[in-house]
């Protein structure tokens, strides 16, 4: 048994009041540069549970709050949405050297790769209908009703867009390795062309997209994952992010799932909100800017040796170039 496995077993025996608990099969899962993710079995009291450990890495892609992610899992699992059941949150560094949380493993599922032009095959439409409907339900929820009224984020519908631009401009300022004239131009455009006020303040998942949910062989979405960037904000932020062309892998269907109009209609029906074109255009530009900022951050983590996961090098090359191209095409239209 590895040291990590032993320490995890010791922790869970106390935490779950299960002195006979045995941890088996602990193995790290690829991906997820912002958290170290492990799969394992916990056998106790006649049960054999598949669980997931998410531990802070020595350095992360974006400094995210594991408390935020854990509370989002609690809130939306409790609301009956497809979200894994959270099991334990540990903020101290004692048990496993770094903060972590544990949640249920949703088994016998897969994710859709953004590198595939047809990631969902014959299930694309069915999955897309669920994907945009669940996103709409997240937007419809009142943050206070789900216990997230104190989440980070701007709560003034007139100020939320500027708040988000400032948040990501700060990341650009801190993590820009080489001058990024297109990113800088996008920030100026977003500031000079503010969107209409938000229709409401909602919980924004922050990374709601193809690749961040699990679906089963029947094409049913079983788990919305990676809530680490969740915050309060304009629900159009999630919609703009989800339909960003990066997540389509070259497929004309948004997210590789549905025609754009159908996707927006599903979201509108589930959320009770409007995907107003001028506002959504602004949030689409914002999405590509936010993406570029995240990839710049990843590149810096890698270049300075704080997190040498090769996904960070890939982010600095492929995805940053992709979002620079998207921004140039949209903002330089007509040139």
């Amino acid at each position: 048994m590895s040291d990590l496995s032993q320490r995890l077993q010791d922790y869970l025996r106390t935490r779950l009041s299960a002195p006979d608990l045995v941890v088996a099969g602990l193995a790290r899962i690829p991906g997820g540069a912002s958290r170290e993710t492990y799969r394992f079995r916990a056998r106790y009291a006649g049960r054999d549970r598949g669980l997931i450990l998410r531990r802070d890495p020595p350095a992360s892609l974006i400094e995210t709050e594991r408390t935020t992610e854990y509370r989002a899992y609690e809130a939306f699992h409790g609301l009956g949405l497809p979200v894994p059941e959270p099991i334990a949150l540990e903020l101290s560094e004692g048990p496993l050297e770094r903060p972590f949380f544990i949640m249920e493993e949703v088994e016998d599922c897969q994710t859709g790769s953004i590198m595939s032009p047809d990631p969902f095959g014959p299930h694309a439409a069915k999955i897309g209908q669920q994907f945009f409907t669940v996103m709409g339900k997240i937007a419809a929820a009142d943050p206070r009703d789900v216990g997230l009224g104190d989440f980070e984020g701007e709560q003034d519908i007139h100020a939320v867009a500027a708040h988000e631009v400032a948040r990501w401009e700060k990341v650009v300022e801190e993590d820009e390795i080489e001058p990024q004239p297109i990113v800088r131009a996008a920030i100026r455009w977003l500031k000079k062309n503010p969107p209409p006020p938000a229709q409401k303040i909602s919980v924004v998942h922050g990374d709601y997209r193809t690749g961040n949910f699990l679906y089963d062989a029947g094409g049913d979405i079983r788990a919305i994952l990676d809530w680490e960037m969740a915050h309060l904000g304009d629900p159009l932020e999630d919609l703009g992010w989800a339909i960003d062309p990066l997540w389509s892998g070259g497929n004309p269907l948004v997210g590789g799932m549905l025609p754009r109009d159908e996707a927006l209609a599903l979201w509108e029906k589930a959320s009770g909100l409007k995907a107003e074109p001028v506002a959504l255009h602004w949030w689409e530009i914002f999405a590509s800017l936010k993406g570029a900022a995240i990839w710049m951050s990843a590149a810096r983590e890698y270049a300075e040796g704080r997190n040498t996961d090769p996904i960070n090098a890939f982010s600095g090359w492929y995805t940053l170039a992709f979002h620079n191209h998207v921004l140039a095409q949209k903002l330089g239209a007509g040139s």
Binding site: Y38, Q180, G305, T308, P310, A313, G316, A321, S335
Partner: protein
């Protein structure tokens, strides 16, 4: 392109030599696959890197030469004229990058000036260069 190829090669070697397998086969396979992809992309970048940077630098210099005459700000005009007359004296990536970064910063300054002064034609020309720059830097995952 950041990180640069020598950094990628260094950290890839360290990661492979450092035991990516200690976390299990699935994680190791994912890491090796990603490192392999970055090796492939690095090979492509080795071939095109100097050409991309030199072409970008020349495009920006040509643009600055066109823009300088329409700029009323004496200091910015002088910077544009000086940059327009500059050259890449070396084709080393580090030297091309140094020139490229300086030219990109000047491009942003020129774009802000054009935006603030409502110089639509200048903005159009700048965006044309930026669009070409972005298209040239796209990374293909194909053969």
């Amino acid at each position: 392109m950041s990180p640069e190829i020598p950094t990628i090669l260094q950290f890839s070697l360290q990661r492979l030599a450092g035991g990516v397998g200690e976390h299990g086969a699935a994680f190791a396979a994912g890491q090796v696959g990603l490192i392999g992809m970055m090796m492939t992309l690095s090979a492509k970048e080795y071939e095109r890197g100097a050409d991309i940077r030199h072409t970008e630098n020349e495009d920006m210099r040509a643009l600055f030469g066109e823009l300088a005459g329409g700029v009323g700000d004496a200091a910015l005009k002088a910077r544009l004229e000086e940059a327009a007359g500059s050259k890449d004296e070396s084709l080393r990536i580090s030297a091309l990058n140094a020139n490229n970064y300086a030219l990109r910063r000047l491009l942003t300054d020129a774009q802000i000036y054009a935006e603030d002064h409502g110089a639509q034609d200048a903005q159009t020309r700048i965006w044309a260069v930026l669009k070409a720059l972005a298209a040239r830097r796209l990374v293909s995952l194909g053969p």
